[in-house]
């Protein structure tokens, strides 16, 4: 099953490499990984989309917690959260299709961010289904290039990612018999 893990890390050189090295070294899968500074410049947030059975996910979160530079690990899957991804799509726009490209972009509330005589570049933000849908619609019109950011996610309501306890011993101690 696919999981979205939000990881708060110290904003230091080498931290990304520790995380990506952990995934590759232990054979965990990364579907996407995004990282940027938070409101506190001393920390960064990573959003990692990964997959695996329960045992693998348990190992992923425990192993992440074990890294000294990691402050909080929060597996958002199973709780209520909002996630978004942005894509930039460069679509071929010949005379016969220019209007159609714009119409589709419009329906999806896409924004044209670059125009050339032969193409449009369109920015779209949304969840995965929306992005997949628009990509499917653009495919027959010839997509010249595509760049995706990977997902970012945040819990809904008052909860913030920092409030999740780092130490997993509690969880271990509660799953009993």
């Amino acid at each position: 099953m696919r999981h979205v893990i939000s990881v708060l890390v110290e904003n230091e050189p080498g931290v990304l490499s520790r995380v990506s090295g952990l995934f590759s070294g232990r054979g965990f899968n990364i579907e996407s990984l995004t990282v940027a500074e938070t409101i506190d410049p001393a920390t960064s947030r990573m959003t990692i989309v990964t997959g695996g059975d329960d045992r693998i996910l348990e190992q992923i979160t425990k192993q992440l917690n074990k890294l000294i530079n990691i402050i909080k690990v929060n597996d958002l899957t199973g709780e209520s959260f909002v996630s978004r991804e942005m894509v930039l799509i460069k679509v071929s726009a010949e005379d016969s299709t220019r209007a159609e490209v714009l119409r589709i972009a419009d329906i999806f509330r896409g924004k044209v961010v670059d125009v050339s005589p032969k193409s449009y570049t369109i920015e779209i933000t949304g969840d995965e289904n929306k992005l997949e849908a628009i990509i499917d619609l653009f495919k027959p019109l010839k997509i010249l290039d595509i760049v995706r950011t990977g997902r970012v996610a945040i819990p809904r309501g008052k909860k913030d990612v920092r409030n999740n306890k780092k130490n997993h011993s509690r969880k271990d101690n509660e799953s009993v018999l």
Binding site: E10, P13, G14, S17, R18, G21, L22, G25, R55, E58, Q59, K62, Q63, N65, K66, I68, N69, I70, I71, K166, N167, H168, S169, R170, D172, N173, S175, V176, L177
Partner: protein
């Protein structure tokens, strides 16, 4: 007062109580070695940086203190990697200082530059590159804290040359401020209650003790507990010594080369109490058929060890010593249980298994390696510190030497590093100058760090090296015999030095036994010497280590002799 980076480093080491530094100099660490020249520290100059780490590791495993290494940049640093990985897999507290090229040259492919922080990231508990002298003292403080607490492990600090020359006002922090690293020592009380209840219900329990018992110092608690409730104990390779080897409740080691009774007991038990173990593949064999009838309780300080390979019924994250103490308290109040009665049938069953004598061998007209180890055991009365290399020598040492106490058996269990034994023996002898320290070696693995004989001589360390010479890489040969149709590909050590002459070349005593009747006298003479000694035993060439569970098979499917 302002101190230079090199001075700060030494001052921090002094405040951490460090006495011995295992090292090797070079360009990038000249400032530090210059400071060491007239310092209070004892610097042990090894002959290869890998050995510096193994020696610090041997020092740490025997003494329980954190071992310290200092090497130069580039090749000096990369040579430490095997030693660091060895310590990482066996959870040994080390702090390794490596030199680095000046900060302005980092990334420039400068002379003797290596990205050692990048290289060692997956095999250290944590590591640091100090780019600013202001962070030096804090990082050293953190390094010692991280290395020695929780599940111990190696921490590396990379020191660019210019940082060692810079100066700053020195202040050593009293405490670390690592919000993200707070190991949990106290086991969950409710879970320990449940653990106690499960143990009280069990008719066929087995305690399974690992290296965590040794590193947390929980041997006496384990012994008390096992005796109190009449429960048998088996150990991992790393757990050897955590429970007295001669104790009637000791089943011996379990796993691939475990005893018949240990493997049968684990397979037949209704409750497995795993203490400070990580269920390595060498212990469990085929996971699906591991302890099939048992509930499993797992106590470990490292949450990642729990439910990694084996599903657990009661997980407890905490220091195993704390948990066992708590358990003892509960059982002391519990007087109704007649433990002996409860476990009587089970112990009878185990003693039937014991009669299988899975470690029996016939000492015929050629020296059997098992016989050599047994004689070493007898003649040292089980009081020596034993280190091993890796392979058959390691398994025979673990099977035939009965260890009374923890921290007396040093072996590379996780990584399986050939060449570990001699430098580890050197480190152990530094920690315990008066104790008998013996490296039980093979003719193959001793040659991987044989250069350290010079170190032993230079520092008057009377380590004893027992080479079980079968002129093969014996363990690999054994696998080729059993699983590759006796095609001995690259396992014949056709050329080896004359170990007696080699001993002479280093100015030490060399002794050789070629016949069984010479074994005792060679060991006696070797042990009575106050110098390092090589004792070479020409053993039966194709002797195998048994019992053996083929890799991936269930552990009750043993090949016996």
């Amino acid at each position: 007062m302002k101190l230079t980076g090199a001075q700060i480093l030494l001052e921090c080491l002094r405040l951490e109580g460090v006495e011995n530094i295992f090292g090797y100099p070079g360009g990038a660490v000249l400032d530090i070695f210059d400071q060491l020249f007239d310092s209070q520290f004892r610097v042990i100059l090894v002959r290869h940086e890998q050995a510096a780490v193994h020696a610090a590791d041997g020092y740490a495993r025997t003494s329980g203190k954190t071992g310290v290494c200092l090497v130069t940049s580039g090749p000096g640093a990369t040579n430490t990697v095997t030693g660091i990985a060895t310590a990482y897999l066996d959870s040994v507290p080390l702090v390794i200082f490596t030199g680095q090229v000046p900060t302005r040259l980092i990334g420039n492919d400068a002379f003797q530059e290596a990205d050692i922080v990048g290289i060692t990231r997956p095999c250290t508990k944590h590591n640091y590159l100090i780019k600013d002298i202001k962070n030096l003292a804090r990082c050293i403080k953190e390094a010692f804290f991280i290395a020695g607490t929780g599940r111990p492990g190696p921490v590396l600090i990379d020191l660019p040359k210019d940082v060692m020359g810079d100066s700053v006002k020195f202040e050593y922090p009293e405490k670390t401020n690592l919000v993200n690293y707070q190991p949990n020592y106290q086991g969950h009380r409710g879970q320990i209650q449940r653990m106690a209840k499960l143990i009280m219900k069990s008719k066929k329990p087995v305690f399974f003790a690992g290296g965590g018992i040794v590193s947390s110092g929980a041997s006496s608690e384990l012994t008390k507990l096992a005796e109190m409730i009449s429960a048998p104990v088996t150990t991992t390779l790393m757990g050897i010594g955590s429970f007295p080897g001669t104790h009637e409740l000791n089943l011996g080691m379990m796993g691939m080369h475990g005893t018949f009774r240990a493997n049968m007991a684990v397979t037949g038990c209704d409750l497995l109490v795993a203490l400070g173990v990580r269920f390595s593949d060498r212990d469990t064999g085929k996971i699906d058929e591991f302890a099939p009838h048992a509930k499993i309780i797992h106590v470990d300080i490292d949450p990642t060890s729990i439910s990694k390979s084996v599903r657990v019924d009661i997980p407890i994250v905490g220091d195993v010593k704390d948990v066992l103490k708590e358990l003892l308290k509960i059982f002391k109040k519990e007087e109704e249980t007649d433990w002996e009665e409860l476990h009587n049938d089970w112990l009878n069953q185990i003693s039937e298994w014991k009669d299988t004598h899975s470690l029996a061998y016939d000492q015929n007209d050629q020296i059997k390696p098992q016989y050599v180890v047994e004689k070493i055991y007898e003649l040292t009365k089980g009081d020596a510190i034993i280190t091993t290399e890796v392979g058959q020598n390691q398994m025979w040492a673990s099977q035939y030497y009965l260890f009374k106490k923890p921290r007396t058996f040093l072996t590379s269990g996780g990584l399986g590093t050939m060449g570990y034994g001699l430098p580890a023996a050197i480190g152990a002898q530094i920690a315990f100058p008066k104790k008998t320290v013996i490296d039980i070696a093979g003719d193959g693995s001793i040659q991987m760090n044989i250069q350290e004989l010079a170190t032993a001589v230079q520092y008057n360390l009377p380590v004893k090296i027992a080479i079980l010479n079968n002129r093969y890489l014996g363990m690999v040969r054994q696998w080729q015999e059993l699983f590759y149709g006796k095609r001995y590909s690259s396992t014949k050590m056709e050329v080896a030095p004359d170990f007696i002459k080699l001993a002479e070349a280093y100015g030490i005593l060399g002794l050789r036994a070629t016949k069984p009747e010479e074994v005792t006298s060679v060991i006696k003479e070797g042990l009575s010497s106050s110098q390092p000694v090589i004792m070479e035993f020409l053993v039966e060439r194709e002797e195998g280590v048994y019992p053996m569970v083929p890799a991936g098979e269930p552990i009750n499917q043993m090949l016996l002799v």
